[in-house]
């Protein structure tokens, strides 16, 4: 049963990879192995620009979201004795909102704002803004849950040692939070890479990312070229998974000894 599940999980990805090497343009027949679609890919300026946009969007939004989300998570923890129910709701809002509603809300808002003020034209800028708004809450929750797991007396120890606010942040809070912050950054990165709908609705003509490029291309049917782009994206994810696994393995070994 377990193996049947693995087939179900990986067959769609495997098929994409296999057909990207097909020498003819067909998803019914596999004729021979060829790299022609990859060559076509790397010669296509539109695709290269889309890959660049995807990378910029993912990295910039993740860095911003990590900074904002970490502060938010720490603020929630440090003042958890207060009534912060409204803050919790605010943080859950982006998580429970259907992404299609999210996307069109921002589309209508930004395009009206752009018409009125000449700023916030739909493009990479609005996409980054939109991504940060759904990434930051996830980072905040990760950081918050890490802090909740700590012994609160550690904070008292800092003041007993006459640490000022800066020293406390520099020598205690940030090092302690480092795993959560790193995990938050990678979570933000995955969220950004996985998102299509919100990007699609907040993008402009100049800010096509890879998923958006693929989306408009498959409206005309799947081509081996699309399979080739998809294969490269799958490859990136598998590499990330392998790195994660290696890290887990190393940590496991360290904790075991």
């Amino acid at each position: 049963m377990w193996y049947a599940l693995l087939v179900l999980l990986y067959a769609p990805l495997a098929v994409v990879v296999v057909y990207s090497f097909n020498s003819v343009n067909s998803s019914a027949d596999f004729v021979g192995v060829s790299l022609r679609w990859y060559r076509a890919l790397f010669a296509d300026d539109t695709i290269l620009a889309a890959a660049w946009n995807s990378a910029v969007l993912a990295l910039v939004s993740s860095m911003l979201a990590t900074a904002i989300g970490t502060a938010l998570g720490y603020g929630m923890y440090a003042h958890r004795a207060r009534r912060l129910g409204w803050l919790i709701w605010l943080i859950y809002l982006p998580i429970i909102m259907p992404d299609i509603v999210y996307g069109i809300a921002q589309l209508s808002f930004f395009s009206r704002l752009a018409a009125a003020t000449q700023i916030f034209d739909l493009g990479l800028g609005t996409m980054i803004i939109a991504h940060v708004s759904f990434q930051a809450p996830f980072v905040a929750l990760l950081v918050y849950s890490r802090l909740v797991g700590l012994d609160p007396r550690l904070f008292d120890a800092c003041s007993d040692l006459y640490a000022n606010a800066w020293q406390r942040a520099r020598f205690f809070i940030l090092p302690t939070l480092q795993p959560a912050i790193v995990a938050g950054f990678f979570l933000a990165l995955t969220l950004s890479i996985d998102d299509f709908v919100i990007s699609y609705f907040t993008s402009g003509p100049e800010s096509v990312t890879l998923p958006i490029f693929i989306w408009s291309a498959i409206k005309r049917g799947i081509s081996p070229e699309i399979n080739a782009i998809a294969t490269l994206m799958i490859g990136t994810v598998l590499a990330a998974a392998a790195i994660t696994l290696a890290f887990q393995y190393v940590r496991h070994r360290q904790s075991g000894e």
Partner: protein, 302 residues
């Protein structure tokens, strides 16, 4: 203890709090709450001649959603809502049926294998959802072995593919959301108290009885958390029905999206989006109630 350890109180503590949370709060309020509020207001506006919302406020968009158009009443939009509900319930049910044994199986595996097994379940969901849909388009297209098989069995007419179809949408949804159910279920199975099962058996319960009274209540929090994680995004799903369903199997997400693209009727689209949000909230409330009623731990939910 207002602030962990530092002993600050009153205005200084408030300043500390605001300094930390202000960037996040302002970001979310300005770039999410305000757009959402604007969208809600659009739902009550008039559709202008350029497809953009104008005053005065009316109920026209909601009437249109209920089926009243220039040509009289038609149930087309209600069918879309109904189809979306059916697909959501079907997909969530199938995901539970598959994920439950899978999560149990992983939780019983040797401890050192479990992280790897979980990773194997989760990794496909790290790829972009458009790419996962392309995978199924490749597999279910006309002329592929699976489509030929289905045609030979008389399930579909010859030379047709398994996609686009309702079936492809259901399959795509199940594939997409499976990890979201496996993870919370695994979390509860890992802490499963087997003594309760033994107790049920000792008291004369059969296999079903032991499951009903010994296992199910313990896994309920995971089941409900998973249902929230699956059903809510499935209800608002746009990519999979759009790519795998074709034009005839429209779901609510596509109906909303179309009003902001080709059809250009923002008030109508906003009204449909409002209905979507209300349905989502109603679903959340029902699941929370259900969780409390069945003795699940409410803390696990949201």
């Amino acid at each position: 203890m207002a602030d962990a350890g530092s002993g600050k109180t009153g205005w200084r503590a408030t300043g500390h709090l605001l300094g930390l949370v202000a960037p996040g709060v302002i970001w979310i309020v300005v770039f999410l709450v305000a757009p959402a509020a604007y969208l809600m207001s659009i739902a009550f506006m008039t559709n202008g001649s350029y497809g953009l919302p104008e005053l005065p406020f009316t109920w026209a968009a909601f009437k249109q959603l209920a089926g009243y158009g220039f040509l009289g009443w038609s149930p087309a939009n209600l069918y879309v809502v109904g189809r979306t509900l059916v697909q959501t319930v079907l997909a969530t049910g199938l995901v539970v049926v598959i994920a439950y044994p899978v999560a149990y199986y992983i939780s019983r595996a040797p401890a050192r294998l479990r992280p790897l097994m979980l990773l194997l379940v989760v990794v496909p969901s790290w790829t972009n959802q458009v790419i996962r849909a392309i995978g199924w388009m490749n597999i279910l297209a006309p002329g592929t072995p699976l489509s030929d098989l289905a045609a030979a069995l008389g399930l579909i007419s010859p030379h047709m593919g398994l996609y686009p179809s309702q079936f492809a949408v259901a399959l795509g949804l199940v594939y997409n959301f499976l990890p979201f159910m496996v993870l919370p279920l695994y979390a509860v199975f890992e802490r499963l108290d087997t003594a309760q099962i033994d107790a049920a058996r000792d008291l004369g319960a059969g296999v079903w009885g032991a499951f009903r009274h010994g296992v199910l209540p313990q896994t309920l929090p995971g089941l409900l958390a998973g249902t929230v994680l699956v059903a809510i995004p499935a209800f608002g799903m746009y990519v999979i029905p759009e790519l795998l369903g074709g034009g005839k199997n429209l779901m609510l997400g596509s109906l909303v999206a179309r009003q902001f693209a080709a059809a250009s009727n923002w008030p109508f689209g906003a009204a449909a989006a409002l209905i979507m949000i209300l349905a989502t909230l109603a679903g959340l409330v029902v699941l929370r109630r259900l969780g409390r009623r069945l003795g699940g731990d409410a803390g696990v939910m949201l």
